[in-house]
Symmetry: C2
Subunit: 272 residues, 2 copies
């Protein structure tokens, strides 16, 4: 896992990260099956740990998902988080900000959606869009981009100091893989509804987006809120890496069964 | 299912509904296992239908769960809804209102949490608490109770006319069953954290609560937003009944794969 983590305060070059990487697993159908079995077990464990997180109600987990179009943000949530009790898991899909939201600073709407104690919060896109799209399309100046990097770090520090563990995943696909996935949407009539013509325009800016992602992750990966570059060409490996990291984060909280309410003599309690 | 539905505009007597009922199923371990297999299949189907609800994004489903303490509201959500993609399913647990919420009408905070189009919303407790606790403890007058019944009906009519299907489940347990469940919490050190001494005080008001539930369901069960009295002494039967009803509601929406975006010549589309 460590090798996918973006080192704080260092330069980042995404071309050193292979989107097709499958770690110690071979790129065969057989190792895919094996990996899926491990992932299933991790998901089962995730369900247990989430119950305990909820019961304790003193910590929270925030998962941020970013990536190019078709990189598998929705698919990750479906594959890794279906099975978790929805009572303790909230997914927030950030769309283009509303007129009201635009009348506030860019973290205003995000802060409201931070996970409550006891909860897992998943940001499907996030405040990071405000240093990506805006940056690539030149809507904000370089100095504002830098300012926002700092504001994001301070915001995440606040959450972290308040008991929220933060994991940020960049789903790393290759440009060829995106082509395949877009073609699948175009050629399969059952999937055409997912097709968005605007994605083709954004695809033309692939290199600019890569650069923006690099700058953003280099500037905002911290020990408390690290970025992970997840090889995401193969969905099964992507799911495995993320399930593994999420389970580890919850294990590290060392959550116990909550203690009984104080001041009650349970042995003498009688129910009429 | 029909036999559990509260008929609009008619008197309701909960003593005619057996909390121990298991329908056509025997009360044996073997039929429990069989029922669980059916429930599992229904939950799988629920997952598929929810994906389609989300994809279409033009309808919503609101599930309201009410019942005495320990009646299994949390357990129902965990058993029936784990497996659903959390991206399309939001659970709202209504607690005692905040000072700000109390400065508004009782539906203000509830309306904000109504499920968006494409979503399943689950209310774990709901606006109905405001005609239950308040009624039983004499905090509001009979005329205000009646007024609120009407306000609730009009509110739910608004949601319904706006494309939201509403299902309301009363989890019906016997007083003896509650005793068992409270004792389990007391006697099992692993479960003691769930114990709330206030539940014992509310238990003393069992009959008053039954009366309040009867009045409330009789007054607010409508064709668009029916109440169901779910026999809930046996968790496996409770889960089966609810999973069955929820799947039927989604099937009735006749959701299809959404159509492709208009104005695109898919056959000529090329990706660079």
């Amino acid at each position: 896992m460590k090798k996918y983590q973006v080192i704080p305060e260092s330069k980042l070059n995404l071309s050193h990260f292979d989107p097709d990487d499958t770690g110690n697993h071979k790129k065969t159908d057989k190792s895919k099956e094996k990996a899926n079995v491990i992932t299933e077990k991790l998901i089962g464990r995730l369900g247990e740990l989430q119950e305990r997180l909820y019961a304790n109600g003193n910590r929270a987990l925030l998962i941020v998902l970013q990536g190019m179009d078709t990189s598998g943000k929705d698919g990750t949530i479906k594959s890794v988080m279906s099975g978790v009790n929805p009572q303790g898991c909230k997914v927030i899909s950030f769309k283009a900000p509303s007129a009201e939201e635009l009348n506030h600073d860019f973290l205003w709407r995000v802060h409201q959606k931070a996970p409550a104690k006891g909860q897992i919060g998943i940001f499907n896109r996030s405040h990071y869009e405000d240093v990506l799209i805006t940056h690539v399309h030149g809507l904000i100046s370089d100095s504002v981009v830098k300012q926002r990097f700092n504001q994001i770090k301070e915001f995440e520090e606040l959450l972290s100091e308040s008991g929220t563990v933060i994991l940020k995943f960049f789903l790393h696909i290759s440009k060829d893989e995106q082509k395949k996935r877009l073609e699948e949407r175009i050629n399969n009539p059952e999937k055409r509804w997912k097709f968005n013509e605007a994605d083709l325009e954004e695809r033309k800016l692939w290199k600019n987006y890569l650069g923006a992602f690099e700058a953003m992750m280099a500037a905002t990966s911290t020990d408390q809120a690290p970025w992970y570059i997840v090889p995401a060409n193969r969905k099964w490996y992507r799911n495995l890496v993320i399930a593994d990291r999420v389970v580890k984060a919850l294990e590290d909280m060392k959550l116990k069964t909550p203690s009984a309410p104080a001041g009650i003599n349970f042995d003498k309690l009688k129910i009429e």
